[in-house]
């Protein structure tokens, strides 16, 4: 029994310690994000570039995926609602499922696939090339210059793209409601407005910001763990991305628990 416990215990303790370190590091980064001293002309330039790379460049792909995936899903949801005779709950189902759950989840998956991996590789390459030494040599704080703009851009991008996803899906929902239920535009909009809860919006906003924070913080952290060997780059990206997906699942589960308490 003891060897089994030891075999199970070592990775468990290791993972708990790693999570603890990440959370402690998150605390340091949060204090930097809210510190005015972290923002100067250089970090603002990086912030604008990062928002462009994360939230603007992805738009054609994101809009296409949102329309195709969102329309298919909303079509299925509407068909089920019609079959079960739950038309009166349409607004609650759309706001509770699509806006607060589905939109942040799809958005964070797309951004994690595209931007988190890029950030992880970028920082690992900078480490291998000794470019981080350059920054410290010129007394440039890596947290201020590299971390803060990327994390803020991650948070802003997830929030904005989640809203965009919601708008697009609710837009296709409007078409489905007209064609499947023969519902008027006013009735559809009223159903949505009546089902909107302030607490849901706040939880969605917090969830999006938490997603955005961790899907940029974790790759940054794992990118920094690269050694000076080129072969450490794929290892850093792989480890970082695995942890990003674990973080996404944990945040999703915690937000669900929070909603239903």
């Amino acid at each position: 029994m003891a060897p089994i416990l030891k075999t199970l215990g070592n990775p468990f303790v290791k993972n708990v310690l790693s999570a603890q370190e990440t959370l402690a590091f998150a605390g340091v980064v949060i204090s930097k994000v809210f510190s005015r001293r972290s923002y100067n002309s250089a970090t603002k330039t990086v912030l604008v570039n990062q928002i462009y790379f994360t939230a603007v460049e992805i738009l054609p792909l994101f809009i296409t995926v949102s329309i195709i995936f969102g329309s298919l899903l909303i079509g299925i949801v509407f068909a089920v609602i019609k079959d079960l005779g739950l038309a009166e709950y349409l607004g609650s189902i759309l706001m509770g499922f699509v806006v607060t759950e589905l939109a942040p989840f799809i958005t964070v998956l797309l951004i994690a696939l595209r931007s988190s991996s890029a950030i992880d590789a970028e920082i690992a390459v900078m480490k291998v090339n000794q470019e981080l030494n350059t920054l410290s040599l010129f007394n440039i704080d890596v947290l201020d210059y590299l971390f803060v703009p990327r994390i803020v851009s991650g948070m802003v991008s997830v929030v904005l793209l989640s809203w965009l996803f919601s708008i697009l899906v609710l837009g296709s929902g409007m078409l489905f409601s007209i064609f499947i239920f023969g519902m008027g535009l006013d009735t559809y909009v009223n159903a949505l407005i009546n089902s909107t809860k302030f607490s849901d919006i706040v939880i969605m906003l917090l969830k999006c910001m938490t997603f955005g924070f961790f899907i940029t913080l974790i790759p940054l952290r794992f990118g920094l763990r690269a050694s000076h060997e080129l072969t450490s780059i794929p290892v850093a990206v792989l480890n970082g991305m695995v942890k990003v997906f674990i973080a996404i699942v944990i945040i999703e589960v915690l937000s669900l628990i929070l909603r239903f308490i």
Binding site: S41, E122, M126, Q130, T134, L137
Partner: protein, 130 residues
């Protein structure tokens, strides 16, 4: 510091590598920083490389960008570490001397460090101001 140990930032354009120092430490607005960097690059006749990525620059262009970046520090004391390692194809040190003259108002002192066995390569600097 101008050294292979302090490489240029590869995900920034040439001008942003130079502007970074003053943008970060003096909060110099981006447009003003760009104007000043372009004026400095013109001293080397390198205005055309301002918007290029580091990977597309040759060794001498990289050296000039590194030199300008180091000179952006207030009251800068330039330390050039093994210039022949940064520019392996360089025949002698005259190019370094010329480059330093073009920006001599931007720094207070300059020190070049290299191995003793490279001494002959520095003959061209003897008797010059630098």
């Amino acid at each position: 510091m101008v050294s292979v140990q302090a490489p240029l930032i590869s995900n920034l354009d040439a001008w942003l590598n130079v502007a970074l120092i003053r943008q970060y430490h003096e909060n110099l607005p981006r447009d003003q920083a760009r104007r000043e960097v372009l004026a400095s690059l013109d001293r080397f006749g390198l205005g055309a490389v301002a918007d290029r990525r580091i990977s597309s620059l040759d060794d001498q262009e990289r050296f000039c960008i590194m030199l300008l970046r180091a000179a952006m520090v207030k009251r800068s004391v330039l330390v050039i570490d093994r210039p022949f390692q940064i520019m392996p194809d360089l025949q002698d040190v005259r190019y370094v001397g010329r480059s330093l003259k073009w920006i001599d108002d931007l720094y207070e002192e300059c020190h070049i460090f290299d191995y003793v066995w490279m001494k002959d390569q520095y003959g061209a600097l003897h008797g010059e101001e630098h």
